[in-house]
Every structure is written in C-alpha cells, then in structure tokens.
C-alpha cells in the first residue's frame, strides 16, 4: 500500500510538472450555425476550423503554443449568437472570435465584440459588416457586390443590357437584389423584370413566364439551393433560351446534381474553390486551394467548399497575425490590419485601416456548367 501511495504521488508530481511545462494554449472562440437553417454554412465551417486547428497543433502550434478552438452552435439565431459571444468572452476568455456564419448574426454579435474589444473575423458575406469599418470587426466571405460586378462586366462584354432578375426572398437574396439594383446604373443595365420567389417555393414557372413575356436579354437568379435548381428546370421546361446567370450561392456540385441537364450552360461567379484544379499554376491561391480541398476530402469524405473556406481563411489570418506578434487582443487587431497579399481560399486578402474585407473582385472567377462540370469562362 505504501509503495502504491509513493507511486501515485510520483505520478501526480510528474503530471503537474508536465502541465506547467506545456505552453499555455491560445484560445480561439468560434460561433457557427452548425444546425438550423444556415447549417449548410455552419457545418463545413465548423469541420474546416477543427481540421485547421488539428493541423496547426500537429505542426507544433503557433510559436510553440497549441491552439484551442471553442466552438458553439448558434443555430442561426442572432439572440443565441450574442449570448454565446458573451460566454466566449467572459467565461472562456478567448483571444479572438471567428464566425458567425450569417450576416444577421454577425451584425448582432459585432456590437458585443466591439464593446469588449475582441477581434471578430466574420464568415458572413454582407457588405454592411465592414462598411463602415469598425476597428475590431473583419470578415472573410466575399462581398455580394463583387459577384454582381463580375456578372455585369460579363453582360457588358456580350453587349446585353436588358436584364430580368429573380431573387429569393431571404437575407441572401435581398442583399443580392440591393446590389443588383444599385450597380445596374453604373454598368448601363436596365432591370426590366424584378421578381422574387420564396425559399421554400416549389414552382417558379409563373415568374419565368412573366420574364419570357418581357424584353429581357438575360436572366440573373440569386439564391441558394434548391430554388435555383428548380428555376433552371423551369427555364428548360418553358423553352426559354436567354443566357442565365446565377449567384455564387449555388457554386457547388450539388447544384449540378439537383438541376441535372437543366444546369448546362448556366454561368455564375464563384470563389476559386470549385475550379482549384483548373487554375493556372501561377495563381497565388492555387497551392492553398488544392491543399484545402484535398485535406477536407480526406478527413470528411466530401470535397471542401467555399463556405468552409471562409473558416479556413479566418483561422489562417489569425495565425498569421499571431505569428507577426499579435498575442493580445489589441496587438492582434493591429497585426490583422497589417496583413497584405495573403493568399487564402476566398481570395487574396489585403487588410488596412480602411478595408476590413480585404478582397477585390479578382476573388471571383466566372464559371460555366459544361458536361455536368465547371469550366472557367474566359
């Protein structure tokens, strides 16, 4: 018995020693809507964040300190997101927070993080998150406006100017609609039909019949699955032959799978993730993209998408800023603003005191569905 006690105390001492030896972990909070309606964003984001943290820790952490990721599920609810943000800051004492997944939640959470002076790197797309700029709020998802600009540029080059828009009546669609309307003038576009559909609608032939009867030269549809897939099928059913543009909201293989043959020829702006393999070797993002897509596939069985990419970017930007010397919340914020030409998944980020979104429209490429796969549009 005495021997046992000796052994025990020895182990305890050993354990305690090893504990004090190990560097203290860097705590990063994460708010993602892993469940709930925006789970198509939150789930790949959570998976990606976990994967990135595991990789960083396997490689020895950041400056010898391991990363500790604390993930909470907001279920897409802004009130919950705010409570969880408070918990991350006050109970978990995190250095910085990544997420939330949606614009609505981010707008609610950012008031908390700004007050508590904790850097927030949102994974949502809404341009109002970083416009006007607040010192503590950054984001990684590409602005909708950049995607709209890409489409309008392409229409201009085809000498088409009369456009029908069909947008989904949720946050994503209405933000796209605002951008489409506000940028139309700049590119000399006339919106001859401006119609919407509900996120759960199952038939859009009525709206499309109206478009068919108008003088539109092209259709732009703004939504996330499954609506646009139904619209693609309806367009084919009605025999409409106008060029069809969609948003980056459907830039995943899932869209082609759902719409089948009806997706053929549709053009959309997309982050470079889905065409990683086709990018020229000189592309600054190629290395990161290919590594991410394959790493995700190895771990989770499906290819990484651009939603998960937002979390990859958020964590890697944090890592870079910490490596540059941002070890407290205040210095971290300063270092984030100094990051320039960082090639991530969503694009090449250059933050500054005036720009906390960091991307240009080069972040988007135009892709077209050809033979049930994506092809780059020149």
């Amino acid at each position: 018995m005495k021997r046992f006690a000796q052994l025990l105390s020895f182990t305890v001492v050993l354990l305690a020693a090893s504990l004090t030896n190990a560097a203290e972990p860097i705590k990063i909070g994460a708010l993602f809507s892993v469940t709930g309606p925006p789970s198509f964003l939150g789930e790949p984001e959570r998976n990606t964040a976990q994967m990135v943290v595991d990789e960083i820790n396997k490689a020895g952490g950041i400056k010898g300190r391991p990363l500790q990721l604390i993930v909470y599920d907001t279920t897409g609810d802004a009130t919950k997101a705010v409570q969880l943000a408070n918990k991350l800051i006050k109970d978990d004492h995190v250095l910085a927070i990544i997420g939330p997944s949606t614009t609505g939640e981010t707008m609610a959470v950012k008031s908390v993080t700004e007050k508590e002076q904790i850097p927030l790197i949102s994974c949502a797309a809404g341009s109002k998150i970083t416009d006007p700029v607040n010192p503590w709020t950054f984001k990684t998802a590409q602005n909708d406006g950049l995607a709209v600009a890409r489409i309008f540029e392409h229409l201009q080059s085809r000498k088409l100017s009369k456009v029908a828009i069909l947008t989904v009546s949720d946050g994503f669609g209405s933000s796209g609609r605002e951008q489409l309307k506000s940028q139309a003038l700049k590119y000399g576009m006339t919106l001859v039909v401006d119609d919407t559909y509900g996120p759960k609608d199952t038939d859009m032939t009525a709206q499309l019949t109206k478009i068919r009867g108008s003088e539109a030269q092209a259709i732009i549809c703004w939504g996330t699955n499954p609506g646009p897939a139904i619209i693609a099928k309806n367009i084919k059913q009605l025999g409409i032959t106008l060029p069809v543009y969609m948003s980056h909201g459907v830039s995943s293989k899932k869209f082609i799978e759902l719409a089948g043959d009806a997706s053929e020829g549709i053009i959309l702006p997309s982050g470079k993730v889905i065409v990683a393999d086709f990018l020229p070797a000189a592309d600054a993002q190629k290395q990161a993209l290919v590594a991410y897509v394959q790493g995700y596939k190895q771990k989770y069985g499906v290819a990484g998408d651009h939603f998960g990419g937002h979390a990859w970017d958020a964590l890697m930007l944090l890592k870079k800023a910490i490596e540059q010397g941002g070890e407290t919340s205040a210095t971290l914020r300063e270092q984030l603003e100094k990051i320039s030409a960082f090639a991530g998944i969503g694009g090449v980020f250059t933050f500054s005191g005036q720009d906390h979104a960091g991307l240009t429209q080069e972040a988007f490429v135009l892709v077209q569905v050809k033979n049930k796969d994506w092809a780059l549009v020149e």
Binding site: S39, F40, E43, S169, D195, T196, Y197, G198, K200, D201, T202, D203, M204, T205, A206, Q207, T209, K210, R212, G213, N225, P226, A229, I230, K233, K236, Q237, L238, G239, K254, E257, L258, A259, G260, D261, A262
Partner: protein
C-alpha cells in the same frame, strides 16, 4: 409571346401545383374523416416518402418503381407506428391535445429524418424524361402528367373504396358516430390505425412523384403540409373531389398571383384564402351545410 399564351401557362402551372396540393390534402381529409384528428404530421409523411425513395434509389440502387413501392410501404409503416405510439396511448383525446401531439410528432419526424439523411436537398430522376410537352402554347413536363394521372386514379380509388368495400363503409361509419360504430361491432381503433396507414401511403406517393420536380429535403414537409391543409380546408375536408378542387383553386390563384401581381404575395394568398374560408364558410367551398364528408 402574347398575353393569352402567358395566361395559359399560368393556368397550367397552377393546375400542376394544385394537383400536388390536392394529393397532400387528401391525406389530411382521410384521417380527419375517420378520426376527427387533423394530422399536422401529414406533411412530414410526404417528406419521408420522398426521402425514403431517394435513399433507396441512391444508396441501394433499387430500380425506380420498386423504390417507389418500398417507400410507400415504409412510410405507411411510419404512419402506423405514429398512431400506435403517439395517438392511441392518449387516454382522453381532446382536439387541442391531438393537435399538439401531431405537431410534436412532425417535429420529431423531421429531426429523425435530418439525423438519418442529412440536411442536403436531393432530386429524384423524372419518371419518363424531361422533354417539355407543348399544350396550347404553354408547356408541361411529363412528370406533371404522372401527377395528374395518379391524382385522378387515387380519387377514383378512394371513392370506390369508401362507397363499396366493407372496410370503407366501416371507416365512414366511424366518421359519422364512433360510439354507434363501435356498438355495431366495428373495431374503431383498428379503423383509426387503418386510416393512418392509408393516408401515410398516399402522402408518401405524393412525396415521391413530386420529388423530381420540387426536390426534397428533410424540411420540405412544413410548407407542403400547410398547403395541403389549405386545400383540404377549401374543399371542406372531403376526401373526394372537394379537396382536389380546393388544391387546384389554390394552385391557380398562387400562380396567377405570382405572375400578374407579385410573387411576394404567393404564400400570403394561400393563407388569406385559408382564413377567409375558416371565417366565412368553415364547411368548405363546395359542400352545402353539414353533409357527409367521406
């Protein structure tokens, strides 16, 4: 493209959507008529039918028509289980507690479907191709013809079943007076179980034949269920032609509303009609006073 052609397209699209609503509505009506329960989990049964079909087809590579059949049987079993586990154990069923139970059941079924099959949207291949058919300047898909045909077949079958078979008559007897039906030797509880079986099977069929058009995912049941409920209410909860007309009326109004006014009002139209009917003609548009409903 002239206006009359547009109008034909609106009407035809409305007819197609309406037939879907009607199919779902009939499921509501059958259970209501034999038990007095409004089964708010009906939409979830539609979803399970579609998802089960997709699952069998994609995972097990079952041939399409076998998958349809198996999905219908599977969903009917879910309907039976639901009745046995959630409805029958109730000691004193009041309308309110039944409504709450079926709503709770629908949330449970949705959650199980989400855990089993994930949150992705799935599409079934069309039964007979995607080549559009031209009808008087408007277009339809072959899948729409399947929907029309099955709706007509189903209405006729339920009509014949309720009119001419012993079980059908027994179900009607339960609808008229449960106590009296029990006194003449009808096993009322078995009839209730049976009505859940039929309407789950019909719901599953609806879920599968619309999946090539509307896609399916774990959460399609809510909206489809509500629209089907609207159709059944407009039709005065009849399990025959009334609900079909109700569904078609709803579909056409939605389509015209979206095409001529604004698509923003599409769902509002459905629910305004629902409220108006409930206020003004609770017995439905097509029935005269308290008549037999089966």
């Amino acid at each position: 493209m002239d206006f009359s052609q547009q109008l034909t397209q609106y009407l035809l699209s409305g007819l197609a959507t309406g037939a879907i609503y009607a199919l779902i509505g009939i499921g509501f009506a059958i259970i209501y008529n034999s038990t007095g329960i409004i089964n708010f989990a009906q939409g979830e049964l539609v979803m399970i039918g579609g998802m089960l079909g997709v699952y069998l087809l994609e995972r097990w590579q079952v041939p399409l028509f076998l998958a349809v059949l198996l999905a219908i049987v599977g969903t009917a079993c879910v309907g039976v289980l639901f009745e046995r586990l959630a409805i029958r154990p109730l000691r004193q069923p009041t309308p309110l507690s039944l409504v709450i139970i079926t709503i709770g059941g629908s949330i449970l079924l949705r959650g199980i479907a989400m855990l089993l099959w994930g949150k992705d949207t799935h599409a079934l291949p069309s039964f007979s191709g995607d080549a559009p058919l031209a009808v008087a300047g408007a277009t339809l898909l072959p899948q729409h013809l399947w929907i029309f045909a099955l709706t007509i077949l189903l209405i006729t079958a339920t009509k014949l079943f309720f009119q001419y078979t012993i079980t059908g008559k027994a179900l009607r007897a339960c609808a008229v007076n449960r106590r009296a039906a029990g006194l003449v030797g009808i096993d009322v509880r078995r009839m209730v179980l049976f009505s859940f079986f039929i309407s789950a099977a019909i719901g599953a069929l609806a879920g599968i034949i619309i999946a090539p058009l509307t896609m399916t995912s774990y959460d399609v049941g809510i909206m489809l269920g509500l629209k089907g409920f609207c159709a059944a209410i407009i039709g005065g909860m009849s399990s025959g032609i009334g609900t079909v007309l109700g569904g078609i009326l709803l579909g056409i109004l939605e389509s015209l509303g979206a095409g001529l006014i604004s698509s923003g009002y599409k769902d509002a139209i459905a629910f305004i009609i629902l409220l108006l009917i409930l206020f003004l003609r609770p017995q439905g548009l097509f029935s005269r006073g308290e008549s037999e409903r089966v």
